[in-house]
Symmetry: C2
Subunit: 155 residues, 2 copies
DNA sequence: ACTGAAAAGGTAAAGTT
DNA sequence: AACTTTACCTTTTCAGT
């Protein structure tokens, strides 16, 4: 993985906050030619530094009235079991994202459901019903705030 | 907030997984005219159903070698204190996202740091040093998997 | 509300420094 | 490696259905 220069970081910073901007405007903000900018962005994408671009959807508008996180512990705990759990859960429409943790819990399962009955059903049917799931603690998400600032490290 | 029809949901589903697609291809995938598609997307954006579009960055490539989540409890716990904490933390480059929780913990703080020394420094200086933070439990994130499937609810 | 065609503007590939 | 130019293609607008 090649080292990123200052221009690359400025491209990433701007797109991290708003990927809707077109190439011409992006180039103007940074102070480089559009063709140069386009080439940089392409390279960042093809090299995997930019993993993808996505929209953020207002979940309430599509019926996802409740967000919750289930913190679970697994027993037994093997790589195979962990990967299977991840792959299975990622198929389900309720899942927003999964955190495989080292610490007090093995997984944080971040999900969106229509109401508390849906949450109850989902937790029983898709989580506690699994053999490897030993304990489940479900908590409500009152607010989820995404940072608009790209992490930066001066190396 | 107006009700979404099937075409809107298909637009959201496709863009949720890949916002890089251009309008012409998006329209073709759905089977509507590009002008119609563009109008729909604009309406979804202006109405706030699409909250924004962002790139996902490979954090390791910019020096973020470790991801962690700090679970904290607050005392005292008031709306003012909670909002102040959120606004302060969102300014810091290490923060990826924040979850305000109802349950065992008050906040999950998801962050990216360069190494374990950086993590130690950050937790002491920006989290435990705050008067309202009563307890902190920091855990490593081994893997964070974002679902590529937009949550769906049949209503 | 969707379509189709025309005008405007951005993209991508060429050659140049 | 980055800039400029130009041809091409997409986006966007608008009159019509």
């Amino acid at each position: 993985m090649k080292k990123l220069d200052d221009i690359d970081l400025r491209i990433l910073t701007l797109l991290y906050n708003n990927a809707d901007i077109n190439n011409k405007d992006l180039a103007a903000k940074i102070g480089i030619a559009p063709s140069t900018c386009l080439e940089r962005v392409k390279r960042l994408k093809s090299s995997g530094i930019i993993k993808g671009s996505f929209i953020e959807v207002n979940l309430k508008s599509i019926g996802g009235n409740i967000e919750a996180i289930a913190a679970i512990r697994l027993q037994p705990y093997s790589e195979e079991i962990v990967n299977k759990l991840r792959d299975d859960l990622l198929q389900l429409p309720e899942i927003i994202s999964l955190y495989h943790m080292g610490g007090n819990y093995d997984y944080y399962i971040h999900m969106s459901v229509s109401d508390s009955e849906h949450l109850r059903q989902f937790v029983f049917q898709e989580i506690t019903s699994r053999d490897e799931v030993q304990t489940v603690e479900t908590s409500l998400v009152f607010e989820h705030s995404r940072s608009s600032v790209l992490p930066q490290f001066d190396d």
